[in-house]
Amino acid sequence: MATMTPRERIEAAIRCEKPDRVPISPILDFFCARYKGVMLEKFINDNDLGRELLIQIFDEFGGWDATYQSTTLNEFAFGLTLPMRMKVPGRELPPDMIWQFDEIPIIEVEDYDFAIAHGFLPLWGKLFPKMRPHQSPAQIPELIGAWNGQAIKDTQIWESRGVQCFTGVAISPPLDFFSMGRSLNEFSFDLHRRPEKVLAAMDAIIPGLIEAAVGGQKMISQATKWGFMTNFIGATRGSATFISPKMFEKFNWPYIKQIALGLLDAGITPLFHFDSDWTPLLEFFKDLPKGKCVLEMDSVTDIFKAKKVLAGHMCLMGDVPAALLTLGAPDQVTAYVKRLCEEVGDGGGYILSSGCSVPIDAKPANLRAMIEAGKRYGVYN
């Protein structure tokens, strides 16, 4: 029987303690549109509709402990985190096709010097016209103002229903920022051809990155009851799928650590939304304060190994695989969630979620099986 509120449950898990049950918070975005028969073109440009569909699905599937985002994904907000050009449905893509990043270099070699001289926000402003050629930099304050207003509204609506928004403000570590902006190839060359320049540019943007996150979090906390429970830190390129542990130690970890400590100083919980393979890098995370951060994995990292390395030290989150939700049967999903609850959930410090987003073409019965199995097998004695 439930003896904790959903918020208490998640807070206990983040502290690496044992709640009454494993908390649940799946990531839902494009799935909502496809499941409800809404074209993606319409869906990504209508935040009220996105939030409304999310609420309907939350209710239809029996609810969970925190909504991952307050609305589904908004193209402008999503594109803010990474200096990349996006192809979106209805603009560059057919009206019902999922949006995709276009891997073209937005950041030039010379921009490292610009970053070193001017820091994060001026660099972002300089890159804006290349990221979003259909919009003018003069529109930036208006676009950000509109998005902030939407985020506050969505969060207030969820809160009026007693539901916590798990995360909202998003940043990427400098390595992911530059790798995405330069393109994987060019950035891989940079790591070998001009490593000192890359490091100096990373040093130069890190204060601005942290300030941007803290500023966003304050904005939402001041306007809502609970604010966002965590700050999203998204990374892929800095994983062992792409770089060696030796490079990670030099080019990525010092900055991830600075971001985490900077957020913690401001009273904000860092959520490492780390896709791809971080398995060989898990030991590094022991370097961060105990019971203060969340490491969220997409099923490429071995979450069972993560439990062995980080049990009692860092809250783990994930990782029902996308392929299982799309191709598997409900009993396979149930069996996997049972294993997650028993092994990763052992002793507490675990939040059940999808491995990255629930895919657009996931079987609804699989999402249902995931939620129900979490509620059944996640109960602690």
Partner: protein
């Protein structure tokens, strides 16, 4: 005597590797012998990758040095197609425009001495079939990052069946969410977790 060029390439020493290529060319060395050294260097890179000493960014750098070396050898190698290990058709399947995984695959396969026909991204099933018909390739690499690419992969394999070519090609699939479950669903012959795994698969198929 150890091959300096192969070692420089394997160590990702871009400047010295390219300098060695130029010096050997200037000294009148046979371009095929220089190419052989580059292949040896790339094979060492592959071994280091398999031994977890190198990672993808190192493979990309090695592929770039290899490309630059080939550019220096230029037209002197044009006549050579007979020494290739085999022909591979590769592309990102219909509905998916992600190219980085596919590009790494193409670079690494070329560096491993395969003749690779790169069909690009968002490739419809029929285009894969036509490419195999025209080129006589015996291996097909299908890439995809989105779960929606699973259907396209399945359709592509089915298109090879329909064209009566399925038994003549080996199909490998790869990309972010692709695993054994996906391989079985799309009826491919194998899945590769990364570009180096794809080279290993091709070597097994061509050798066997």
């Amino acid at each position: 005597m150890s091959d300096q060029l192969a070692t420089a390439l394997a160590d990702l020493e871009e400047e010295s590797a390219l300098k060695l290529v130029q010096e050997r060319l200037d000294a009148g060395d046979d371009p095929m012998a220089i190419l052989k050294s580059c292949h040896e260097g790339m094979a060492m890179v592959g071994k280091r990758y398999e031994g977890s000493e190198y990672y993808v960014s190192d493979l990309i750098m090695a592929g770039e040095i290899f490309k630059e070396a080939m550019a220096l050898l230029g037209s002197r190698l044009k006549a050579d197609t007979s020494s290739k290990r085999g022909k591979v058709v590769a592309g990102t399947v219909k509905g998916d425009i992600h190219d980085i995984g596919k590009d790494i695959l193409v670079t690494i396969l070329k560096a491993a001495n395969y003749d690779v026909l790169d069909l690009g991204v968002d490739v419809p099933p029929q285009k894969f079939v036509e490419a195999v018909k025209e080129s006589g390739a015996t291996i097909v690499g299908l890439s995809g990052l989105l779960t929606t690419s699973f259907e396209s992969m399945k359709e592509t394999v089915a298109a090879f069946e329909a064209a009566g070519l399925r038994s003549r090609v080996k199909v490998m699939v790869g990309g972010g969410p692709v695993n054994e479950m996906v391989r079985a669903y799309v009826s491919a012959d194998a899945f590769g977790a990364d570009a180096q795994a794809a080279v290993t698969l091709c070597n097994q198929w061509i050798g066997g």
